[in-house]
């Protein structure tokens, strides 16, 4: 292994000093032929040598005051940490006040502005500190993890007493099934595929059983620990890819600015456990593949299996990553034979296990993933790109977001697209290193992942892909940041000589940091507007006047009543939102929405409705009269995307559709609590009443 080639980032072979101060070619990233690692401080160098089997060349002369990297004299600053913790605490306090005001319909509180103030109080101070020059490695890592946890708490503050995001109900049901049924693959009517990826449910059930905590608290802890792991391991991975703590911090910030990170990645869903496990496997393999022994391989294989039984997409992503890594090292020949062989074995294990689990064990998964999600998204995207269908209206909602939000969203995308070529150029010298090559390939895929966002069925894929693509994007932008900072220091030093005083040094150090913070903040703010709807950033008020977007307490009460008085696993029909509560709190089976929506939309119990009720084996119907009060805030759908006017609703649900249940002689009202009613339609289903 050539120590030069291994770290070469952007070489010209002249050995000039990056900052023009010592003339020995020791530090200029991209200027001396040896890359950024030449600048690595003693701690980082020792770390890289110990863990990745590589050693930087010793510095040839005295360190300069200004460098593109962290300085050797950097110490962990508890004062900074305390100040930042205080800012984050204030930010979370502001968010808590805004959330509570929104729940209580207190319109005198400017919840919208408070949301942004709280979030920025968390993000900006930490970004400013981790991107600064004189920060120790441990402090950067701590702050990155702290930022991840603080952003996780934004979601916890929004839903402090129960899971409220729709996908969370799927995994609550899985966890309950694991505890009550004690075996795998119990039928999950909310998402059949989820039952075949039991990792999250099993871990949460285990924690619940051992500690006696509720499923909600155990779930929060599992995802919270996962958040800590994902931040820490991604930082360590970025550090080993970029060979720079400062670039790793920038990469971490960009990753945390992805559209899904703030709220979606904090939810109790299987992907949010699988990604930390995948990050652990990548870190672990990078660290131990050069070393012999059975145990590191066993741990890696166990990690791969853990990922595969937890989430399908992450399993595929990990398999592809390991395969690409092996291939890149095979082509680049930068690794020892033993390391390459071990990597190849792990890639084979990952690919085989993923495919076997996906096609053989998780039988509903191929239909769910390929037929129901990928194929329509790709088809729609193709139609949009080829001009056969009109692109989706971005930021379109009944309650339009303020005008600056679309601008911020576009600005975030344009900033990233503008930085991408520079980042790829910064990384070009290191492309013979497999990790950098993979990071560059992921970053290169970023523009491609934007296209499905223009198609109505492609939004989910585009958004979810950002959790993977932003890792590579962060790395190349982190590299660009260190290159730009180095060039800036060089320019300033050449301009003013070495006699610049501490005040000028401070200014010269602060300017690139502040520019980077501004860019990261633009990307973060813009992507929050992209990833989270305007109306979903604060919780919905209790007892809304229109069709709700979150499960309401009275629906939970009705579901609990159904479980206690009717028993579990009866076939229920309900609107999309209410069915989450019935499936989770009521432990009921749910009718297929594709056949259920005609039952709800019909104005009378005619022969078609009877036929559908019999086909669905429908026993009970939960009616939510709020559907008829006003149009939903978000123009989605009441039952199924295939229903008429889905995603274009401007008026409320037709009242006649619900009134037929109360007027028909073959239905019995068995539960009545305000706007929520439950009707027994089993006589129609069994044919005893016509």
């Amino acid at each position: 292994m050539s120590s030069h080639g291994e770290f070469a980032s952007a070489t010209n072979g002249h050995g000039t000093n990056g900052y023009g101060t010592n003339g020995h070619g020791t530090n200029g990233y991209g200027t001396n032929g040896h890359g950024v690692l030449e600048d690595a401080p003693a701690g980082l160098a020792a770390f890289l040598k110990a863990n990745w089997g590589v050693a930087p060349r010793p510095q040839a002369s005295t360190a300069t005051t200004l460098t593109g990297q962290e300085t050797e004299s950097a110490r962990f600053s508890y004062r900074w940490l305390a100040s930042i913790a205080l800012c984050s605490a204030i930010g979370l306090g502001i968010l808590a006040v805004a959330d509570e005001a929104s729940r209580r319909h207190n319109y005198s509180v400017p919840t919208y502005h408070m949301f942004w103030l709280g979030v920025l109080l968390i993000f900006v101070p930490i970004a400013a500190r981790v991107l600064a020059n004189d920060v120790s490695r441990m402090e950067r890592l701590s702050l990155v993890v702290f930022l991840g946890v603080a952003l996780y708490l934004v979601k916890v503050v929004e839903s402090p007493d129960a899971f409220t995001f729709v996908d969370e109900y799927i995994h609550v049901r899985n966890t309950h099934a694991m505890i009550s049924m004690r075996h795998l693959f119990t039928w999950n009517p909310l998402l059949a595929t989820a039952a075949y990826y039991p990792g999250l449910g099993a871990l949460t059930a285990g924690l619940t059983e051992l500690t006696g905590l509720s499923v909600f608290v155990a779930g929060l802890l599992v995802i919270g620990i996962g958040r800590i792991l994902v931040c820490a391991f991604f930082y360590l991975i970025f550090e080993s890819v970029t060979h720079s703590g400062r670039a790793a911090a920038a990469a971490s910030l960009i990753y945390m600015a992805n559209p899904m990170f703030l709220l979606w990645s904090s939810t109790f869903t299987y992907e949010n456990l699988a990604i930390p496990l995948g990050a652990f496997v990548v870190w672990w393999v990078g660290k131990t593949r050069d070393r012999g022994g059975f145990t590191p391989m066993a741990v890696a294989v166990a990690g791969i299996i853990g990922v595969i039984i937890t989430h399908h997409i992450v399993g595929f992503a990990l398999s592809m990553l390991l395969s690409a890594w092996w291939l890149a090292e095979h082509i680049g020949c930068r690794a020892t034979d033993q390391a390459r062989r071990r990597l190849g074995i792990l890639a084979i294990v990952a690919c085989c296990a993923t495919l076997i689990w996906f096609f053989v064990v998780a039988r509903p998964a191929p239909t769910y993933l390929l037929t129901n999600n990928f194929a329509p998204a790709l088809q729609d995207t193709f139609n949009v790109l080829s001009g056969h269908s009109a692109p989706r209206k971005l930021y379109h909602s009944t309650f339009a977001a303020p005008a600056w939000e679309p601008l911020a969203g576009f600005a975030a995308v344009f900033v990233l697209l503008a930085l991408l070529p520079g980042g790829l150029l910064a990384a070009r010298g290191s492309l013979r290193r497999a990790p950098t090559a993979i990071a560059a390939a992921l970053a290169f895929a970023f523009p491609l992942t934007l296209a499905p966002r223009l198609a109505s069925n492609g939004v989910a894929i585009s958004g979810r892909s950002s959790e993977y693509v932003y890792t590579g994007l962060g790395c190349v932008i982190g590299l660009l940041f260190t290159v730009a900072a180095s060039k800036w220091y060089k320019w300033r030093t050449n301009l003013e000589g070495e006699l610049s005083g501490p005040r000028r040094n401070w200014r010269d150090t602060a300017i690139p940091t502040l520019v980077a913070v501004a860019i990261a903040t633009v990307v973060f703010v813009g992507n929050v507007t992209v990833g989270t709807r305007y109306t979903e950033r604060v919780p919905e008020g209790a007892h809304p006047a229109h069709y709700e977007r979150l499960v309401q307490p009275d629906v939970i009460a009705a579901s609990t009543w159904a479980l206690q008085h009717l028993g579990a696993n009866h076939m229920f029909g309900a609107s999309n939102i209410d069915s989450w509560a019935l499936g989770t709190y009521g432990n009921q089976d749910l009718a297929d929405m594709r056949w259920l929506w005609p039952v709800f939309f019909a104005e009378s119990v005619n022969s078609d409705v009877v036929k559908d009720i019999k086909r669905l084996k429908l026993q009970y119907v939960l009616v939510n009269w709020r559907m008829t009060h006003a149009a939903p805030e978000v123009p989605d759908y009441y039952l199924d995307p295939t229903e008429p006017e889905a995603r274009e609703y401007l008026h409320s649900f037709p009242a006649a559709g619900l009134e037929k249940f109360s007027s028909d002689p073959c239905t019995n009202l068995i539960y009545d609590a305000g706007p929520i009613q439950i009707y027994d339609v089993s006589q129609i289903e069994s044919g005893t009443c016509t």
Binding site: L207, T211, L221, L277, F280, K287, F294, T295, A302
Partner: protein
């Protein structure tokens, strides 16, 4: 040593710090405490553990202790405490996840008792492995050194007594090349180890 073979490593065994010792022993204690809360299936157990302690022990058993035991026992190459902690949490989560799924896939089924026993037994096994590795390996090594020294002394004494007046046999007939290959082979033998971690590379 590795966990699979459970053979003591004679040289290069990790110089576990006292704190690591305490934590390993704590792991055994945590597993024991965990079993007292009902994992052994004793409904009327006289020991009543406060809920807070159950919560703390449960969290440690799921998130930290199994991985920490493995790291201390079989993965001494992790050098910094940060790496050990992160690896411990990652490995613990993987072990808990795979263990729970494994139990649910078997006829035993997943529940508190077998899950706690599984994690507890893994921790105990790893802790015992760690103890075996450090304590027994040192004892065996001491015994071996002593036995070797005594055997050499005895052999020397025997040779001296038996062949006091006999001229020492010459090995001049053996070609130099053979001797050289023997020397090489001996080097290979010395550098062999089960987990490919050479004896002279230990901490």
């Amino acid at each position: 040593m590795n966990v699979a073979t459970l053979l003591p490593r004679r040289k290069g065994a990790p110089n576990l710090s006292r704190r690591t010792w305490y934590l390993t022993l704590y792991a055994v204690g945590a597993a024991s405490m965990g079993t007292s809360t009902g994992y052994l299936g004793i409904p009327g157990s006289p020991i009543r553990v406060p809920h807070l302690i159950t919560v703390v022990l449960g969290l440690l058993m799921v998130f930290v202790v199994p991985g920490w035991s493995l790291v201390c026992t079989a993965l001494p190459q992790l050098e910094t405490w940060l790496e050990r902690l992160l690896a411990s949490v990652g490995i613990s989560i993987i072990m808990a996840t795979c263990g729970a799924v494994l139990l649910a896939a078997t006829p035993i089924g997943f529940s508190r008792q077998p899950f706690g026993q599984l994690l507890g037994s893994v921790v105990v096994a790893l802790s015992v492995g760690g103890l075996y590795r450090v304590e027994l390996a040192a004892a065996v090594e001491r015994l071996r050194v002593r036995a070797t020294a005594e055997y050499r002394a005895w052999a020397k004494k025997l040779a001296t007594a038996a062949g006091q007046n006999v001229p020492r046999p010459s090995n001049a007939g053996k070609p130099a090349r053979v001797k050289e290959s023997h020397a090489r082979r001996s080097v290979l033998v010395l550098r062999f180890s089960f987990d490919h971690d050479h004896a002279d590379s230990g901490v």
